[in-house]
């Protein structure tokens, strides 16, 4: 069993860290304060290929696979969780949907510009009445003159306000529902999508989230991702892949929190000695380190399973569940140790604290993750639980 990373991944990590520390770290605080996406830095990141790390080179990607993508998300989150949301929504779900089931022609047309970072993608699944319960979507696509006409409203769409391309799930046959009646499409902004309310958020403020409104948007037949009626399957496969990297992003955030805790404990003096001398603080450091190492093993192994075509869906749920909870715990610990300083708007911990909460929510809330993991395990022993 050889667990060393191939050397190209070391260099890849080195490059990503360089980009994050030089281009994003200096602007992250201001971007959060103003709730503005740092487009200048994003341009540099796109030029270095950061928007297409996992995809094959024939489609403008780096060819680094899920392993490269995990490294990307871990390194981005060490510096800027909001950017992890931008990249995660773009690569992990919007472009990934085209990649997993799109035809060759569709990939050439849409995956390539997304992988190059020339076009930014958004993933349109959630609706007012369909969040974690994704099968309940109402957005409707109706055939008309060989094209499709889409009507409906998607909400909480990451990258919505500035995306050029949208991977959209819509009902094509209400009678069949999620089993054969839902289709995935790629929709261009120019086809007539509208941006609704832009959310004012607690965390990940330097990413943009909005409603995306489809009002008689006409989409060519060629823009169907995969087979008509099987869109739900495409989106679920995509989300499985995305979950692995939510775990990776959480790992980056938790690692950063641990570093901040150790730094603070070493510097701050209470009762005449550094905080680090207190056992209570030592316990926190030891626990957090242990959880991080556990998460690291899990996330990297799952990435390996993806790249080696093993079934990985259940592990992906665990990555998302444990990752987001460990990251939240890590920033809570950091808050506890930093005292009043942790609450200061001028200190980066406050931002990390606000940013961490989202990971427990998006890509399926943690409650849903637990239900699915349990049902999957129970099914193996013959217990079938209907929703």
């Amino acid at each position: 069993m050889d667990l060393t990373l191939p050397k190209e991944y070391d260099l890849l990590r080195h490059m990503i860290r360089d980009v994050m520390e030089n281009e994003f770290a200096p602007v992250a605080e201001e971007a959060d304060e103003k709730a503005e996406v740092p487009f200048e830095a994003i341009k540099v990141a796109a030029k270095a290929g950061l928007f297409g790390i996992p995809f094959p080179q024939e489609y403008g990607g780096s060819g680094a696979g899920e392993l490269g993508y995990v490294i990307l998300m871990e390194e981005i989150s060490r510096v800027d969780s909001a950017m992890a949301t931008v990249v995660g929504a773009h690569i992990g779900i919007a472009a990934m949907a085209v990649y997993v089931d799109g035809s060759r022609a569709l990939k050439e047309k849409y995956l390539t510009p997304m992988a190059q970072g020339a076009k930014i993608g958004a993933f349109c699944l959630t609706e007012p009445a369909a969040g974690s319960d994704a099968a309940a979507i109402k957005t409707r696509a109706i055939r008309s003159n060989g094209n499709w006409v889409i009507n409906g409203t998607k909400i909480y769409i990451s990258n919505g306000p500035f995306a050029d391309l949208f991977s959209v799930l819509a009902v094509t046959d209400p009678a069949l529902g999620a089993r054969g009646g839902v289709t995935a499409f790629v929709v261009e902004k120019e086809m007539g999508t509208k941006i609704g309310v832009v959310e004012k958020k607690l965390g990940i403020r330097a990413s943009a989230t909005s409603e995306v409104i489809f009002d008689e948007v006409e989409v060519p037949q060629a823009n169907v991702i995969g087979q008509e009626g099987l869109g739900f399957v495409t989106f679920m496969k995509t989300l499985d892949l995305g979950r692995v990297t939510v775990g990776a992003a959480s790992l980056g955030g938790a690692q950063k929190a641990l570093e901040m805790i150790i730094d603070y404990a070493r510097l701050a003096e209470k009762y005449g000695m550094p905080l680090a001398h207190q056992q209570q603080v030592q316990f926190m450091i030891a626990d957090l380190y242990s959880w991080n190492e556990m998460l690291r093993g899990l996330v990297y192994r799952t990435a390996w399973m993806v790249d080696n075509h093993r079934p990985f869906a259940r592990e992906a749920y665990v990555c998302k569940l444990m990752g987001s909870e460990i990251a939240s715990k890590a920033v809570s610990y950091a808050m506890e140790i930093h005292g009043a300083l942790g609450l200061s708007r001028d200190y980066p911990l406050e931002r990390a604290f606000r940013d961490a909460r989202i990971a427990e929510i998006f890509e399926g809330t943690n409650e849903i993750q637990r239900i699915i993991i349990a049902r999957d395990l129970l099914r193996e022993v013959g217990v079938h639980i209907e929703p």
């Binding site: 191939p6 050397k7 190209e8 260099l11 890849l12 080195h14 490059m15 360089d18 980009v19 030089n22 540099v44 030029k47 270095a48 290929g49 950061l50 297409g52 790390i53 080179q57 990607g61 780096s62 060819g63 680094a64 490269g68």
Partner: protein, 260 residues
């Protein structure tokens, strides 16, 4: 024409630790990186290539096989070729002999008009390779510590830094240039080029034998045994004296550490 950029692999000064008991560098935890000033040299060379695609940029390094990693990084950044000079004689060679080996390799390449490298190696703090190579290559002119390099009309021009001032300098090719770091970050490699640098591309390994160098003719290492004495970082030293005396002592101390 061809440009050769000489790059060095060093222990990352940010991660390095010193073992005080053994009077040595504890390199177990240190990562190995490309000498940062060499990145600026590569960047300048690759800018020439962007302006004139007929220019071929060749990265060259020398040492143990592990040095290959910095050459792969150079390939990822956009170099056309990467050459590693590596064998027992090479690994043992020091300043004078090393310049001889590199110069022999450069001559072997033919049509090399410009040799570039960083203004210093951050590990040894020395920056003499450029000047030594210039001699070995047949007394080529050398621009030391330059910024804002340009190639025009068969000349290499730039702002040369020396003793607190910048001077405009221009020399006819072929020439050697040692490049300054600037606050402008050099280019980042593209992710795909990083992957390809390892999976597709090739680092050529040349030995001194293949270059026709007889190791016995190389100058023997010419300095005595080296001892590294890392003084512990002593905080809290108060510089005494009148304001004038204290100021003088302080400036001398900072100079002796090469902080200023």
């Amino acid at each position: 024409m061809r440009i050769v950029v000489c790059i060095k692999q060093i222990l990352d000064p940010e991660t390095i630790k010193f073992s005080r008991s053994q009077q040595a560098i504890d390199d177990r935890l240190a990562t190995r990186i490309m000498n940062p000033p060499d990145r600026w040299a590569l960047d300048a060379a690759l800018r020439f290539k962007e302006a004139d695609p007929s220019i071929e940029v060749i990265a060259m390094s020398l040492g143990e096989p592990g040095v290959e990693d910095v050459l792969r990084e150079a390939l990822a950044l956009g170099c056309d070729r990467a050459i590693l000079l590596s064998d027992a004689a090479v690994v043992k060679a020091r300043a004078a002999g090393l310049a001889q080996i590199v110069a022999t390799a450069i001559r072997r390449l033919r049509n090399v008009q410009l040799v570039m490298t960083g203004h210093m190696a951050l590990d040894t703090g020395s920056g003499t390779l450029g000047a030594r190579l210039a001699i070995e290559l047949g007394d080529w002119p050398v621009l030391m510590n330059v910024d804002q390099l340009r190639l025009e009309g068969g000349h290499i021009t730039g702002l040369q830094y020396a003793d607190e001032k910048y001077y405009h300098s221009s020399y006819p090719l072929p020439a050697v240039a040692t490049v300054l770091e600037t606050p402008q970050h050099p280019r980042y490699p593209h992710g795909a080029d990083i992957i390809n640098a390892y999976r597709v591309r090739n680092v050529e390994v040349w030995s001194s034998l293949a270059l026709g160098i007889d190791p016995t003719t190389l100058p023997a290492p010419t300095t005595g045994r080296q001892l590294r004495v890392p003084p512990a970082r002593q905080l809290g030293l108060i510089v005494e004296g009148t304001p004038q005396e204290a100021a003088q002592t302080l400036v001398a101390m900072l100079r002796s550490r090469r902080v200023i």
